[in-house]
Symmetry: C2
Subunit: 510 residues, 2 copies
């Protein structure tokens, strides 16, 4: 829509470094991502209408713009679970203290954050009741009851629910909140081999959520003993990285619990030989944190940037009427465009509001991160084309009406891929391979994601944490990637000087 | 499968009134629906694997067999909401006391049942925090913030979530539990006319859930002033009836809140004339109670009876192998049958377990309420047919393999309709029209759903409640049906003798 560019009252020029906030409309961000990341994040989730701050600290309202992203991921993951014969269920939000405390390591990990109900109405409860921080101890007494023989295995259950962890440090929307939504899968198998295989099968689904849906590169790997799930055998995770803060962020976790919970909760079965055996268990979860990572990775100084696969509106169609122009014709063309796209399965909407200028609307939908904007003005109408503008790189493309669906589909795919490629390029630029303590400290100060040879000893990680403590938070292991670079014999641990056993990612984290 | 009937080790003969429990397998119910309804219900929800009792009183585990029914209803209702442009969101589970107490009538209605969090870890909270019993007071402070002008209206939000009401009377799975799952819709409009229209539009969806999905007849109507939602303007509901107990049960409610909450929470907007106006609001909800009503209405002495539209397994295929018969051929035919049905969109599964007899399997799937059983034995194989057995009426039908999909589809539709017709016949047989107090008391003692002319005065309902108080619970109004029979002039209220204003359903209720 070249014809209206001179009239464009948009708050900010696309692509440029200079930013002017259009104060009279309240549009635009007052913080820049590169300058004040934390403030920028708080502002963009609110102005993008993902989050509303709530009057209880650490709790947030998930607005429809965020919920629809959650639902897109949920539709994918839930369908995959059904293929794996995992069944949905719902266990109570309340746990009795006796059950909660049954697994010692586990309760130590969660106890400080547990919220307790002690009253109903005006009446004190006889025994305080905990709100689930996670449901291992809620569910496993019943696994013990339901699992009798080898034919009862595998038992594979999942629930979509809210959980509560009353954390006091730095609440952040999506990333660290006192209540959040998640799915938690809890499975039991006759053999460790089956459990091991499922851990990785689920982890691959988590990778796909991040990489295919949210367009965020992640690293699959194993957590250190210090960082693994309290009470489990080993933890695998997908790890993302936020270049702006130089912090890793655990994206989702898939735990093999081994037989530890089975022992505590007596989850036994008669095997095929008629002998008593103990179940092998897994648990795995991803949460609304995913949405926060997406905002942090893709958002820019104009607002949210949503990957097309999760955007509830993939294309916004804006009429650009002119004085003396065929306004009704333009509006009709917009409606026809939306209909054509929707019929082709593309999530398109029009913005016909009469009290905002086209420029205001451009800024508004940029703030909300809609992947593609289509503008239709008198010249477009005359030339039987529409003007498309990409949110990710501000590129403008004229599309003949005849080829609309095909080209928009291509563009959306291209945007999805470009967001991933760009995020990967930025993430990769932050990865630093080091071998010595000095290089480690230097890389840490440069906010890198550090790949280092490590002796895999718990005391060494504790020591590294102690030595890096400071205002920014200590460094810790993020994961040991499954994709291990070669480790030549004689390679020494960067921190202890002992023989290195594996490559491990280190850094500060969320 | 006539060939195996003499060998059939089934626990109970179908259709007959006599029941013998097969004790050695643990199958079968020890209570009869007609004799001990309460015990029968508790047993059938557990043996049918819908519910597991939980170690906190009034909380229940929803097992996959129940969850899948919830999900079928959810898929229907959520899609309808999206057509109505209602958007999903998620508000926190926690409410601060100041906000909870803002609407006086409302808080009085819920205060005795509110669960309070007072501690996190070992630390006392500064202010106790309530767990939502419903979300009017959670949401509306933000409606006040989001709604500024007439263009912000209508605002239509919904959430799928858990709520907590710490009731002390008679917990019953699905029907009355301290935590339950529901959807709650909260909408705001510029005009009362729009709000009124939506109340009925939603109520119609609730009717469809009950009648089209759960095969349960319901009556649409308006609640009395005494029974309406605390703080609202008027409440509409769909009312079901349980013939065995002679109790009405509120199926779902759609409330017009009027402007009462808008006043308390200052939900104002500038209308098209530039004047300050107050929003009109609705709220509406249905919960997992629906599933309990379904169990109560359709279940029988063999167990659950699931309507095909909500059953996660619509057809169970059981091989009936014989000594010397072509066992592999039979198994292959079962697999082929399941595949053919699944490809046609029918939810079919096979039961190939080798440690149970066919008869045991028949009883097992009857207990779980699967609408249609298909048996395949050697003679069926030879004759290229299968034997179908209906759960609802035990009818046996031989189906040629060639016409399988079509006939099974017909049968499932027929079962769905028959369940509804049968439930309606039984419900209608319980409806008693009365005009006098004596007839009222007589009908009440016969556990009827009583339709009576009423003066519509609140004191009269209070008085009827007082006069019918007893072990069984007092009678109250269920609803005034929208479909009103003729009320001849001069008709008197059955209870007060004053002029009657409307026909109203009365009875004991859940």
């Amino acid at each position: 829509m070249a014809g209206v560019e001179d009239k464009k009252p948009s708050a900010k020029q696309s692509g440029g470094g200079k930013k002017e906030v259009k104060k009279e409309t309240g549009l635009g961000l007052s913080n820049r991502k590169a300058d004040n990341f934390g403030e920028w994040y708080s502002e963009v989730v609110v102005n993008g209408e993902m989050i509303e701050y709530y009057d209880i600290s650490g709790c947030y309202i998930l607005r429809p713009w965020a919920m629809s992203i959650w639902e897109e991921m949920q539709a994918f993951f839930d369908a995959e679970l059904k293929k794996m014969k995992v069944k949905n269920c719902y266990f109570p939000v309340f746990v009795s203290p006796a059950v909660l405390q049954k697994e010692k390591d586990h309760v130590e990990g969660f106890a400080p954050e547990v919220a307790w109900v002690t009253k109903s109405g005006e009446t004190d409860l006889e025994v305080p009741i905990a709100i689930r921080p996670t449901s291992e101890t809620v569910m496993y007494p019943y696994y013990s009851k339901w699992i009798r023989g080898h034919r009862d295995l595998p038992l594979k259950l999942n629930q979509w629910c809210n959980v509560v962890r009353w954390e006091f440090s730095n609440p952040t929307p999506f990333i660290r909140s006192r209540e959040f939504l998640w799915q938690e899968g809890h499975t039991a198998f006759a053999t460790k081999a089956e459990a091991d295989a499922e851990v990785l099968e689920i982890l691959e689904l988590y990778r796909r959520i991040y990489e295919e849906y949210l367009a965020i590169p992640v690293i699959k790997g194993k957590k250190s003993e210090l960082e693994k799930f309290a009470g489990g055998l080993y933890t695998t995770s997908v790890e993302a990285f936020i270049p702006n803060t130089g912090r890793g962020i655990q994206g989702a976790t898939s735990h093999c619990l081994g037989q530890n919970f089975a022992k505590m909760f007596e989850i036994n079965f008669e095997n095929e030989k008629g002998e008593k055996a103990m179940a092998w268990q897994n648990s795995w979860a991803y949460s609304t944190r995913t949405i926060g990572v997406m905002v942090m990775v893709h958002g820019d100084d104009k607002g949210l940037v949503l990957p097309p696969k999760v955007a509830s509106v993939q294309v916004i169609v804006v009429p650009v009427p002119y004085k003396d122009a065929d306004t009704q014709g333009i509006f009709n063309a917009c409606s026809a465009t939306v209909n054509t796209l929707c019929e082709a399965g593309i999530r398109a909407e029009s913005d016909f509001r009469d009290n905002y200028s086209p420029g205001w609307k451009y800024s508004h939908w940029e703030m909300k991160g809609v992947p593609l904007r289509i503008e239709i003005g008198p010249k477009d109408l005359a030339n039987e084309k529409v003007r498309a503008v990409r949110r990710d790189n501000s590129a403008k493309i004229d599309i003949p009406t005849a080829g609309l669906v095909e080209q928009v589909k291509d563009l959306l795919q291209n945007i999805q891929q470009n967001l991933f490629d760009e995020a990967k390029r930025k993430r990769d630029a932050c990865v630093q391979v080091i071998h010595t303590w000095d290089d480690f400290m230097e890389a840490l100060s440069q906010r890198k994601m550090i790949l280092a040879p490590w002796c895999d000893e718990q005391e060494v990680e504790v020591d590294v944490k102690a030595r890096t403590k400071g205002e920014m938070g200590a460094a810790k292991t993020l994961c040991s990637p499954f994709d291990q670079p070669e480790l030549p014999e004689g390679t020494k641990c960067f921190a202890s000087g002992k023989p290195a056993k594996k490559w491990t990612y280190w850094g500060r984290s969320y």
